[in-house]
């Protein structure tokens, strides 16, 4: 599989072009939606009541729009201005923050009822610079300790990610444990090359359970895009369009264009000089 985290820092990799391409790709939309549903299942929130959720590395809102659909109120953080710009364009409901999760969070203790993160934390395994605060273990520690305190007790955080080795899984889980989390790794379809998915399922306090949930196994459901899921997707699109129409009065086209323009300008300010990254090899530090 491709490893964009080895190519460039996230805010550079997910520039304007890639952010649009990523979000418009229907295969990606489907996969991110499926993983978000699964993460929500593992999150085990109280049924039929809206929760307050943190979406870590929310990107353009592919995961967040599922939170909207399920009626949750959410906050999304991401380091890539271009991804956030697409999220604005798509009119997701969450409060968005430009934030590097490796620098930690400032949320007060017990703020969130749960957290999800879809396809993000493998990015934390790559050093940005040679400064001590940018070493992967330092950044992971900062991330997990401040996340732990931002969550209420009991609650859970479910983070789907793409480890490239067992060592990476080991490093991430041990730092999460030191930060106070219980729980562990859940692997869905471990024997399928295509369908295998790794979820770090973290508990604050008891997380509302005694055991780490079981991974899915056995037969992989017919293709990622079976009709049932497509139906869900279609419903969602429809709802989003309707909502969009309903809100037109508030956020008209000019409003969005203005935001986009301002945001683009700011995005540019965050693009470091070429020389910083050109030709530099990026690989995990261990």
């Amino acid at each position: 599989m491709s490893r964009p985290e080895l190519i460039a820092p996230p805010e550079i990799y997910y520039g304007d072009t890639e952010a649009q391409k990523y979000t418009a790709n229907s295969r990606i939309q489907q996969i991110q939606a499926d993983m978000t549903y699964r993460a929500l299942e593992l999150l085990n929130l109280p049924p039929d009541e809206p929760s307050f959720i943190l979406d870590i590395g929310c990107g353009s809102g592919l995961s967040g729009e599922i939170l909207d659909e399920q009626g949750h109120i959410w906050v999304g953080v991401d380091i890539a201005p271009s991804m956030l710009e697409v999220a604005l364009e798509r009119e997701v409901e969450g409060d968005l923050f430009l934030q590097d999760i490796g620098q930690g969070f400032g949320f007060r203790p017990g703020s969130f009822d749960g957290a999800i993160s879809i396809s993000v934390i493998q990015w934390l395994l790559n050093a940005e610079t040679s400064h001590p605060t940018s070493s992967p273990p330092h950044r992971l520690t900062r991330f997990f300790t401040t996340l732990h305190s931002a969550l209420k007790n009991p609650s859970r955080a479910v983070l789907q990610f793409y480890p490239s080795s067992d060592d990476q899984i080991q490093l991430i889980t041990s730092i999460a444990q030191k930060a106070g989390f219980g729980g562990g790794i859940v692997v869905d379809y471990p024997n399928s090359k295509k369908a295998k998915k790794v979820f770090l399922c973290l508990f604050v306090g008891s997380g509302g359970a005694q055991h780490v949930p079981q991974g899915l196994d056995g037969e992989v459901p017919e293709g990622a895009g079976d009709s049932v899921k497509f139906e869900k997707r279609r419903e969602r699109e429809k709802r989003r369009k309707e909502n969009g129409a309903k809100r037109k009065g508030v956020k008209d086209k000019d409003w969005i264009l203005k935001k986009k323009e301002l945001y683009r300008r700011r995005g540019k300010e965050h693009v470091p000089n070429d020389s910083l990254y050109t030709g530099r090899k990026r690989r995990p530090a261990f």
Partner: protein, 123 residues
């Protein structure tokens, strides 16, 4: 789109800034009102998380005086409607949030606060 629901949970996360780092103060803000669905159960569940004085102060700073100075013990529909509006319908679009303690400025543009820290500010 910083709303007061999130502002009320947000402290400064600059290295070593651990006291008097909440709430962040708004500066030069522009706001927009956007209606959202009223959900009394969500609000009731959320109330224990709120720092009431910080919420009332922030709301007043944004021109909304509908909340009582003390968090009421009796929660009626009228109060919940006011709380709903303050927490979820006022969007801060431009301006900044400033830490009272270390004076770090978190600029807000397009409704998105920039929480990125400089290297020397990272804990």
């Amino acid at each position: 789109m910083v709303r007061l629901i999130t502002h009320n949970l947000l402290a400064c996360h600059v290295k070593g800034c651990t006291r008097n780092n909440f709430p962040l103060l708004f500066e030069n803000v522009q706001i927009e009102i956007q209606e959202s669905d009223f959900n009394p159960d969500f609000l009731r569940n959320f109330m224990p998380k709120l720092e009431w004085k910080a919420l009332v102060d922030a709301a007043r700073q944004l021109g909304d005086t509908s909340l009582p100075l003390e968090q009421p013990e009796m929660v009626d529909e009228e109060f919940l409607k006011a709380l709903h509006h303050v927490l979820l319908e006022i969007h801060v679009m431009e301006g900044a949030m400033v830490c009272q303690n270390c004076k770090h400025v978190y600029p807000i543009s397009n409704g998105i606060p920039n929480m990125l820290l400089a290297e020397h500010e990272i804990g």
